[in-house]
Symmetry: C2
Subunit: 318 residues, 2 copies
């Protein structure tokens, strides 16, 4: 009998969430462990195995599992290694896919979280049936997964698709966590939106609901709540953020001529407040040939499931 399930693992710096997924994209069992609790990778693997076998046993045991896919910070699809991940407890190179295979006795494959999100969207989400699209994840950082001809682009060394670190502002750009200046991530990540909010609020005398909040702790949720009330400064913050994104999207289209660009993550909760300026800037900057032709979409996967689903999608390919 065909093995009916795959495992998806979404490893973050704080939590590792995992689940058993069926072919229709339902997460039929799930659990998690704390990533930071295991200073040694072997301790982490043991804990992951113990917790995961509970949910695997609940669906019929390891013989029902086709394979394991994991979305991992700095995960390299080609080598299966985690390579010098600054936000994980384990330094240097960790042969993560091999460790999973050895421990569970099923094939395993890893990639980074944005590529996993792209796989998830293609397998179960808004990109079903698409062969060429770009996934942009808007969270703590700005990640991307690029799909060309039905395959995620990994490039020569496995690290392709770092669109959050292309340049949005060439001169006097903001410092980015990567060490560069002016990266898209410094403007369109959660922190980027907060920085834009702070800049705009402190350089205008305009009345705004946001001025009542602690300026150092404004979130895109706060900005959204104010925008819903018709707050002009809040709307301007989304317009500015959206303009940076849309301008870069026009460049991305010139690269791979995607059918769609799909946005995922916290910022997409702002709905039309962010979609409208992104679309306007994208259409204003794209080559005439593509005007009005490239779809701009939000992910339609449930946010709580998306990362596990995306990782699991890798395992169907094994």
């Amino acid at each position: 009998m065909e093995k009916p399930y795959v495992i998806g693992i979404d490893m973050g710096g704080t939590n590792t969430v995992f689940g058993v997924v069926d072919a229709r994209g339902h997460v039929i069992a799930r659990s998690s462990i704390k990533t930071q609790q295991y200073p040694e990778i072997n301790g982490y693997i043991d804990a992951l195995h113990e917790e995961m076998m509970k949910i695997i046993d609940s669906v019929g045991g390891i013989e029902t599992i086709r394979g394991i896919g994991a979305g991992v910070p700095d995960g390299n699809y080609y080598t299966g290694n985690i390579e010098f991940a600054p936000n994980l407890p384990w330094k240097g190179v960790v042969p993560f896919a091999q460790l999973l295979t050895d421990k569970f006795g099923v094939p395993a494959s890893i990639t980074n979280d944005a590529n996993a999100a792209a796989m998830g969207e293609m397998t179960y989400g808004a990109a079903r049936g698409m062969k060429n699209f770009i996934m942009i994840t808007l969270g703590t950082g700005v990640g991307s997964g690029i799909v060309i001809d039905g395959k995620v682009v990994y490039g020569h060394d496995g690290f392709a698709g770092e669109l959050g670190h292309t340049t949005a502002v060439r001169h006097n750009g903001r410092p980015c966590g990567c060490g560069k200046y002016g990266c898209l991530e410094a403007y369109a990540s959660a922190t980027g939106v907060a920085r834009t909010a702070k800049e705009i609020i402190s350089t205008t005398t305009q009345d705004t609901l946001l001025r009542k909040l602690d300026i150092d702790n404004i979130t895109s949720k706060d900005v959204y709540d104010a925008a819903v009330e018709g707050d002009k400064v809040a709307i301007e913050i989304f317009n500015t953020t959206g303009r940076y994104l849309g301008e870069k999207f026009a460049d991305f289209i010139a690269f791979s001529a995607p059918e769609a660009i799909i946005m995922f993550g916290g910022l997409t909760k702002a709905g039309d407040f962010i979609m409208k300026p992104v679309r306007e800037a994208m259409e204003a900057n794209v080559l005439p040939h593509w005007k009005g032709k490239v779809k701009l979409l939000f992910s339609d996967l449930k946010e709580s499931d998306a990362a596990v689903l995306g990782a699991s999608a890798l395992a169907w390919e094994l």
Copy 2:
């Protein structure tokens, strides 16, 4: 017996050059016709057939020909059509690959000239053995051919790889022929270099050999000749041009993580005067992960052969 030859056609707005190519990348016979002389596509096809059969017969006749590849302005690989090419005599959509196949009785495939250049480099040139690289053609315009996993990227509609029309200068950029402002092509094409020369010469009082020339007709060859003499303004013109290119190359690397970026065309004749600033700007702007790792190369195909070779490379895939 295996058919030993392919035909490569390089169609430009003025001339159409074509040749018979063997498997080792030698152009063993060549000829040309004037593109502009044929207001009707059928007249053009007839003339092409007549001239081409002479060289085909000189190598053993049509039965020695495996197929025809053509590099064509606005040529679409997927459809085989030339679509709304502003610089060709034939308006609208021309089913060029089909017309070739019907006339010659062998399979034919087309693409645009920059993609053809990438194919040529991969088949016969500096990218032999590479599966991931980006070809940048620096001529009248700035073109690009992107290779991922050993295949040219065409994208959803066949027009991927328009890197000359990504934005080099976001605000107050120069108008570009495409209707946008600030495109890389407006800075790194032949015209772009001339415009930079004009700008720099007219905004400095510094002594320069270039001031003796007609400022409206300075070419990159003139700038090169002056740079060789140690002319500081000429060197600054190449530095400026190289900086725009290198800055954008850093963004391109973040997209597809290529093993190499390969430059082709007139501007590469400036040698180190252009290579050095490109490399410096690329290294200064690329993510730390890729610093010192991506090769920057000039094409090693003879310029007179490259376009025909590139087009012919398409035909080996038929």
